[in-house]
Amino acid sequence: MNTSLRAGRRRRKTTAALFLTPFYALFIATMVVPIGYAIWLSLFTEKTSGLGFGGTRRVFSGFGNYADALGDDKFRDGFVAIGLYCLLYIPVMVGTALALALLLDSALARARRFFQLALFLPHAVPGIIAALIWVYLYTPGLSPVVELLESGGLHWDFLASDTALFSIVNIATWEWIGYNMIIFYAALQAIPREVVEAATVDGAGPVRIAVSVKIPMIRAAVAMTMLFTIIGSLQLFTEPSILSDANPAVGSSWTPNMYAYSAAFRANDFGLAAAASVLLAVFAAALSFGVTRLSSGRRTA
């Protein structure tokens, strides 16, 4: 009996290992190894001498690359740009997505399926394609949108230096509203109908129900969406890089991710690029931790 129990336990262990191996193999190969390599790369720098044509040597520089990245205005400005972007983007995107989800969930909505699909569709377009389409729509002389605005007497330059942020937020909002709306809508569907009915019986109108009943009940979904949106914003790369071809005000290191790209592939400084990436990851991790703490703290309060 004792032996069979042990055998059973061993068998269970083997089964567990068998099921877990693919996960860990993939996790190590696609996560741990690349991240480890990035950290390793970030500790070295390449040196040359004289005119610079005699080849390069790789030398250990410790945290030199980290100091360089942190000491570089361009890297720090990237975080400022992301901050401004979030300030504009998150309220607009989350607000609109939430409003649309509530509309869909309300008794008034018609053709729910159609609107769900229609609003989600932009998310199915790859980011690069979306950015290219929007650059086309922003270009005066080509864009029907600009032409329409002009014919209405409105002169709006989407590619000016002070409208760059707006133009990028617009692309991202277009891409992500549908996606987040689906999340909110799913959360709203999970609200017990009795609660809504009780509120109706108590005399609450649709707006009151939305604000006082529905939104508080899906707060967790809203918090999660915000968290993912902030992390996603830190990774901002595709839209500004595509836009920088049309709008020179969007520089080569407009976001921290673009800074890393530029360091690696324009300046050929892979150490600096790796250090910037690691710093960005640490920052994202710290921010996620902070946001989760904040939202869970509010829940208990």
């Binding site: 040359t48 086309y136 270009t139 590619l159 990774q235 049309a246 050929n268 931790f289």
Partner: protein
């Protein structure tokens, strides 16, 4: 206790997501690299036939490769068109060299050759191409010799020239400017004749035009003194050119648009832009991107500062990547492309290229195969020959032009929000010197 672990768990999910997104960027590039390397599978192993891989974006390259493959059964070139250097081509090549799967033959413009040499990305060709040297003018040879060695073979010299809408200039009685003072006057006339038209464009994304104009003005952004670099992006000549263009921009006499952008093309097409300060190769670009405007364009010598002189704008060379094991076949191909009648005529006959061959004796071949219909039968090659003769010999490209250009580009982008061209040059001077020193390169101030 349990809440803490949940919180920690959520944070962990956050960290992993963030990191995977960070590393995800690199993954995408890997895929691209693989796609580029796929044709690099050694085909030379069996028999005599060698397979070369070649990345380029210069006009007419497909026709050149086809003609070469037809006439060389023993060497087959696999050509892959990549985005032009500034539009991502250099990043792609640098990436591939780093990853060890670069093609055998690379296309590198003169300004970026020092970058690739200092990264150790290309092979030293000194002993292999010594016989070709005499075919090229000294001013061109100087650009492929760095640190006493030769690293690439030039395809074209790229003298600058002024392109203008002949119909517009004639209709409005505007004289073709011969000096930069006249250019400014003409710019004012153009705007006066048609408030929606401009004489040209300032390209905030492409500092090489500014470089070429500085070269013409007698300046030199870079130079070497012994074993040290001298960086002079802010010398008086560079400032003069910067201030001149800055004034054109602030007075709204030229457009500010990225080079080859949709906006730029749209304005050329609609007649909103009636001139281009370009180089010999611009004729081909114009021809292939604005076919509807055939017969309306003409070419004139680049305006000067009172004394005849010219500079180069871009111009391409071919180099052999450091890991290529087929350098002999690669050189056969490169030599054929750049110094034979067949190679040059195939390129020009494609109808899309107006390259001015660096190999002087092939200029008549190029002129013969270039269809001048687009320019109303104007024979443009003699004009380029004259312009090439005026190119000053004092110019050297710096050891990290991609970096210097990136800084300039970022600064030029601030023109509309209070920046200036001279301010951009000053920032580029400061950053370049700092960057070179950081890399261990000696800089003399």
């Amino acid at each position: 206790m349990q809440r803490t672990s949940i919180r920690l768990g959520t944070a962990l999910v956050g960290i992993v997501t963030a990191l995977s997104l960070v590393t995800g960027c690199g993954g995408g590039d890997d895929k691209k690299k693989d796609a580029g390397a796929a044709p690099a599978a050694p085909g030379g192993g069996s028999g005599q036939k060698q397979e070369l891989t070649f990345w380029s974006w210069t006009k007419g390259t497909q026709e050149v490769v086809d003609a070469f493959n037809k006439s060389h059964p023993d060497i087959q070139v696999k050509y892959e068109q990549i985005p032009s250097g500034n539009a991502g081509g250099y990043a792609k090549m640098a990436n591939a060299v780093k990853a060890g799967n670069a093609p055998d033959v690379l296309t590198i413009e003169y300004p970026q050759l020092p970058d690739f040499v200092s990264q150790g990305a290309v092979q030293d060709l000194t002993s292999k191409v010594s016989g070709l040297k005499s075919k090229f003018p000294a001013s061109v040879n100087k650009l492929t010799e760095l640190g006493g060695k030769t690293w690439a073979v030039p395809l074209d010299a790229a003298p600058m020239a002024l392109y203008y809408r002949k119909d517009f200039f004639t209709d409005h009685n505007i004289a073709v400017p011969k000096t930069w003072d006249e250019y400014r006057a003409a710019a004012e006339q153009v705007k006066k004749a048609d408030p929606n038209a401009r004489i040209g464009t300032f390209y905030p994304d492409d500092p090489s035009t500014m470089a070429g104009l500085t070269w013409q003005a007698g300046g030199a952004w870079f130079g070497t003194e012994g074993d040290a670099w001298k960086v002079s992006l802010t010398d008086p000549n560079a400032r003069k050119v910067g201030e001149y263009w800055n004034k054109l921009v602030t007075d709204d006499l030229v457009r500010v648009q990225p080079s080859f952008s949709q906006q730029w093309n749209a304005d050329l097409k609609s007649g909103g832009t009636v001139g281009i300060v370009g180089a010999s190769w611009s004729a081909g670009v114009l021809k292939s991107s604005q076919p509807d405007l055939a017969g309306k364009w003409a070419v004139a010598p680049l305006p000067d500062w009172g004394t005849p002189s010219n500079g180069m704008l871009g111009g391409s060379t071919f180099a052999v990547s450091k890991d290529s094991k087929k350098s002999k076949a690669a050189l056969t191909f490169i030599e054929w492309m750049t110094t034979t009648k067949e190679g040059i005529s195939a390129r020009i006959a494609s109808g899309t290229s107006s390259a001015y061959p660096a190999a002087t004796e092939l200029v008549p071949t190029a002129a013969q195969f270039f269809d001048t219909g687009y320019f109303g039968k104007q024979d443009i090659y003699p004009l380029f020959t004259e312009a090439t003769g005026k190119i000053g010999a004092g110019w050297t490209w710096g050891p990290s032009m991609t970096q210097t250009n990136t800084i300039l580009k970022d600064q030029f982008g601030k023109l509309s929000s209070g920046g200036s061209i001279v301010g951009a040059l000053e920032e580029a001077q400061r950053s370049t010197v700092e960057d070179l020193k950081k890399r261990g390169i000696s800089v003399k101030s």
